[in-house]
């Protein structure tokens, strides 16, 4: 139940703030209060969520995230999500997931990802947009920012070849080699060699060779060999390697 149903957000902001503080202090769920404010006065809600005297209680921020569309009407998305993360670092992963889901093509997610995910930057954003048309551009943006472990993690999870292609496009060939192997492990028929050639040029053998230290199973090596059988010397090398592999 809203704790401020009897108050006017345009006039009673001080009282509203006190009621919210009380509600949080006694452990009541503030969700209805947020909804009430969102429906009546988005500007007041924005002030109470990200204003200078906004409560930093995670329950309040979590409730506010349910009305994030209303908050976005009052503040630019980048500013809003950055502020929410600053107010409540405990919820930063959740906040990033929501931001990535709502703004999959936004360039500022690259920087926000770095701030939140550190070494794994890009994983949440790219996982959220893997079915979105912006996925390729986002892979390129994260590769340009040097988010190699994040891209490899996405390659492992999704098996999408754009991850490896983006790494190649930005000269991260060792990471691309790892990503290619992970992609084939996940989805052996994914045309990762074709995608890499589309970025690198018609002779991607130097990139293909970067996969060799990461090949562990004959099945993956065979799938890679099948994809690269247009490159005679590399095929010969792969066949030798496959013949020497123990693990099926």
């Amino acid at each position: 139940m809203s704790a401020i149903a009897d108050l006017d957000p345009r006039r009673d902001l001080v009282l509203i703030r006190e009621r919210i503080d009380l509600q949080l202090r006694v452990g009541d769920d503030p969700t209805e209060t947020v909804r009430d404010l969102a429906s009546r006065n988005p500007i007041a809600l924005a002030d109470l969520v990200i204003g200078p005297r906004a409560p930093r209680d995670p329950r309040w921020i979590r409730a506010a995230l349910e009305s994030v569309a209303v908050l976005e009407e009052a503040l630019s998305p980048y500013g809003l999500y950055r502020k929410l993360v600053a107010l409540c670092p405990e919820l930063q992963t959740e906040i990033l997931k929501i931001a990535a889901r709502r703004h999959p093509a936004a360039g500022w997610l690259v920087e926000l990802s770095r701030a939140i995910e550190g070494q794994q930057a890009g994983f949440i954003h790219l996982s959220a947009c893997s079915g979105h048309p912006s996925f390729t551009q986002n892979c390129w943006a994260h590769a340009a920012a040097g988010h190699l472990p994040g891209l490899i993690a996405v390659a492992t999870q999704t098996g999408l070849p754009q991850t490896a292609a983006a790494l190649v496009a930005h000269g991260h060939l060792d990471a691309a080699g790892v990503a290619m192997v992970r992609i084939i492990e996940r989805a052996p028929d994914t045309p990762v060699v074709a995608m890499v050639a589309a970025v690198w040029g018609p002779d991607p053998v130097p990139v293909l060779k970067k996969t060799l230290p990461h090949l562990r199973s004959r099945a993956v090596a065979t799938a890679l060999a099948q994809q690269s059988n247009g490159y005679r010397d590399f095929s010969t090398l792969m066949n030798t390697l496959i013949g020497a592999m123990v693990q099926p």
Binding site: P191, A198, G201, P202, N229, G230, Y231
Partner: protein, 183 residues
């Protein structure tokens, strides 16, 4: 020394979709080819077709004693003989290809779907054809190539752009990478 033929990459994130490159050496003559096919289509299919064209260039029969012109004719005939359905939905009508052929008598260039052709070395980039030269034109696989331009001076590396590119010379600083030649 074998000549090098390079096709400049296309604009965008995937500049080399359907690009191919192959060399063929017989006794006394060399052929270098570079091109693209099905470049606006599926990446995987374009890759497969490109590799098939490379294999055709490398493996087609060439008669003993052939000179550079015979070599070019044999290679073009072999490309022409590929079933259209094996070259993608456009049946090879989107084929862009540059040939550089050389022997002791000289060097020549030929091709289809070219928008500009330059000779490149460490010091300079010079256009080999200009204006409405017959070497420049649309893509495809006619029965016979429109002709061979014999070069006045030998060129070790010849770079072309496709007919659907803006007709600008390759960048002097990064032309190798722009043609998919990486260190």
């Amino acid at each position: 020394m074998s000549p090098i033929a390079l096709l400049h990459g296309d604009p965008g994130r995937l500049p080399f979709v359907g690009h191919f490159r192959a060399q063929r050496t017989i006794e006394g003559a060399n052929l270098a080819a570079s091109g693209r096919v099905h470049a606006r289509g599926d990446v995987s299919a374009a890759f497969r077709i490109a590799r098939a064209i490379e294999a055709t260039i490398r493996g087609c029969p060439v008669s003993d004693g052939a000179d550079r012109h015979d070599l070019l004719s044999a290679v073009w005939q072999a490309i022409h003989d590929i079933e259209g359905c094996d070259l993608g939905p456009d049946k090879g009508e989107d084929l862009v290809i540059l040939f550089v052929i050389g022997d002791e008598q000289g060097t020549g260039i030929a091709g289809m779907g070219l928008g500009g052709v330059w000779a490149i070395d460490e010091q300079s980039i010079r256009p080999l054809v200009e204006g409405d030269h017959p070497l420049l034109g649309g893509p495809g696989r006619p029965d016979r190539l429109p002709g061979v331009l014999t070069l006045d001076e030998p060129a070790s590396t010849v770079v072309c752009i496709a007919h659907d590119h803006p007709n600008q010379p390759p960048n002097t600083t990064n032309w190798r990478q722009a043609c998919g030649v990486n260190p």
